[in-house]
């Protein structure tokens, strides 16, 4: 079996297609389905979105070119900045969950028996419908009779309306986000941990290094490429969060939703509920730029803390 974390095999790249069958006819025939789908359902829609972001697109009737109007409107729209702040906050909360994932991954790795058990257990939220998970958490967060407020009352902490008070919504949703993505992060980090040579630990044990010291001196530096991968993926997916907000906050009388929308929620609402597609398209393009910028910054910063050998 061959699946590894994607990295272009250097040797094959150097050979510049040596050993490949020169077979243009079959080549085009075999990529044809993929290419047709890609162009029709991805490249073209992408161009559509880009084009519409410069247009006023009424629900009925022809679209008109309006230049940067959508973008200037967006930049002056308080709700957009609110959504951007909410998405950024949610992303930051999820990043705070990463140290927990790293420590848990390292601990699971230390266990002899029961490792598979923990992996399956921590992975359960990943394979449970996000909509279902959101409903369960919405119940737990309920301000009047939720489990969380009850547990807090046992230790004397006053209860809150976690998903109905905009002060707390993003934090509450962020905690669920950490809980949901932990399983995936553990798998990726676990694969990274397995690739650390065992003899490094044995050698440092002989030198009298304890577990904690080993963790900071060996595990953490050698795991840093995996941590980097998880960080990049977390930021990309967190900036696109939609369903948790949609299920946990949306209800007729939840006023907190107005102040808790994320970028993608705002996009959905503009483009597919209000059918203001020009404005929606502009939001999507800004989202793309935000994600690209965030990813670029991380790749720049990785030199400072990621060790490649």
């Amino acid at each position: 079996m061959t699946t590894t974390i994607p990295s272009p095999p250097l040797r094959q790249r150097k050979r510049r297609g040596g050993g490949l069958l020169p077979s243009p006819g079959w080549g085009y025939l075999m990529i044809a389905p993929a290419l047709i789908g890609l162009v029709a359902l991805y490249v073209w829609p992408f161009l559509t979105t880009f084009g519409k972001s410069f247009m006023d697109v009424p629900a009925f009737g022809p679209a008109t070119f309006t230049g940067f109007d959508n973008y200037t409107e967006l930049l002056g729209d308080g709700r957009f900045w609110q959504a951007l702040r909410n998405s950024a906050l949610y992303t930051a909360i999820l990043l705070l969950g990463l140290p927990v994932a790293i420590v848990l991954a390292a601990l699971i790795e230390q266990v002899g028996r029961g490792r598979a058990f923990y992996r399956v257990l921590f992975f359960l939220p990943v394979v449970t419908l996000p909509v279902a998970v959101s409903m369960v958490w919405r119940f737990i967060y309920n301000g009047d009779f939720g489990l969380l407020n009850y547990v807090l009352s046992l230790v004397g902490v006053p209860g809150q309306y976690w998903v109905a008070d905009a002060t707390f919504t993003i934090y509450a949703v962020g905690a669920v986000g950490i809980w949901m993505s932990l399983g995936i992060n553990l798998i990726i980090l676990g694969a990274g941990l397995q690739s650390i040579p065992q003899d490094l630990y044995e050698a440092s044990s002989l030198d009298g290094a304890g577990r904690v010291r080993q963790f900071f001196r060996i595990t953490l530096p050698l795991l840093s490429p995996s941590v980097f991968l998880v960080t990049v993926l977390t930021v990309i997916s967190a900036l696109q969060m939609f369903d948790l907000i949609f299920v946990m906050l949306r209800s007729v009388n939840n006023t907190a939703l107005a102040d808790s929308k994320t970028i993608v929620y705002l996009f959905y609402e503009k483009a597919f509920v209000e059918f203001d597609q020009g404005y929606g398209a502009a939001i999507a393009i800004v989202l793309l730029m935000v994600i690209m910028a965030a990813t670029l910054v991380q790749f720049r910063l990785q030199r400072r803390w990621v060790f490649y050998d």
Binding site: P24, P33, P45, L233, R250
Partner: protein
């Protein structure tokens, strides 16, 4: 590496150690067990709530075990939701998407890995570029295409865009690239054409990757909310995710019923996961992609 990770039988680092590290392992087990309890607590609470009456579920302080266990929540759920219709839609869309995805990705992945044709690198670059664009950027255009084809509220509409994933092509290309070229040469010497070689030699060897891709695609397909929400405006061909999200409007705070629905809708994929853990893990480890 992934496979080694999954098969690894190597003992935990602590197991090989001295008495002191045995003591350490005990601490580790306690930390992990506590975390595990936190992880499953929501599920346990969900299960307990299902068997309570609505009145009992919404009282403060809450009861832990159901006072008077009832399966009324299931009855309410199945009695008022077209669950089986929604399940059929979800399953059909999943099957269609997985089959389409495997066919498209295997063919293109093989061509990109093994065949030489002008524009190969450029086209592959295009695919990879699309991989990096967030999916929301495509939604408006995809919706228009589906609408203009008159396919809104159909099962193919749910499945088709997901069949063409650059990620699947990338994964299959990696798989084919790692198969030694000797197999193909032998087949060619025996007079097999590219299609025969692909079907009888290469495809069977890439089966583990295809399995991983299939389970990951199933996961995305089953869990997807935003796209089904958009292409099922009329509402008679809604998959389970959309149906479940709508349940909340219908039942408000009837939590036992909501919890029962959430359980029933999640169960199929959880069962598949428990049966095919290895494929899930290897899919995640090889992709790192998040649903």
């Amino acid at each position: 590496m992934t496979d080694q990770f999954l098969r690894s039988r190597r003992p935990g680092r602590a197991a090989a150690g001295s008495k002191a590290s045995r003591h350490g392992e005990w601490v580790i087990h306690v930390i992990l067990a506590v975390s595990a309890v936190v992880m499953v607590a929501p599920f346990v609470w969900q299960l307990l709530t299902i068997f309570k009456s609505n009145r009992e579920a919404s009282q403060m302080p809450p009861t832990f075990l159901p006072e008077d266990p009832t399966t009324g929540a299931f009855a309410t759920f199945f009695g008022s939701v077209p669950f089986w219709a929604q399940l059929t839609v979800s399953v059909a869309a999943l099957v269609l998407r997985v089959i389409g995805q495997l066919a498209v990705a295997a063919l293109a992945g093989y061509a990109f890995a093994r065949l030489r044709f002008p524009g190969r690198k450029l086209l592959f670059g295009l695919f990879i570029a699309m991989l990096m664009v967030p999916s929301q950027l495509f939604l408006i255009g995809q919706f228009e295409i589906i609408r203009d084809l008159g396919m809104l509220d159909t099962i193919p509409a749910l499945a088709i865009p997901g069949m063409f994933s650059a990620f699947g092509i990338f994964l299959m290309r990696q798989a084919f690239m790692s198969i030694p070229s000797g197999f193909e040469e032998a087949a060619r010497l025996d007079g097999a054409g590219p299609l025969r070689t692909f079907w009888y030699i290469m495809l069977p060897m890439a089966r583990p990757t295809m399995a991983a891709l299939a389970v990951l695609t199933s996961l995305y397909s089953w869990n997807d909310l935003l796209w089904p929400l958009i292409v099922t405006p009329r509402g008679d061909r809604r998959p389970i995710t959309v149906g479940l999200a709508g349940l909340q409007g219908q039942f408000g705070t009837d939590y036992p019923t909501l919890m029962a629905g959430a359980l029933v809708a999640s169960l199929p994929l959880i069962l598949i996961f428990l049966a095919l853990q290895r494929q899930f893990f290897s899919g995640i480890a090889s992709s790192g992609l998040k649903g």
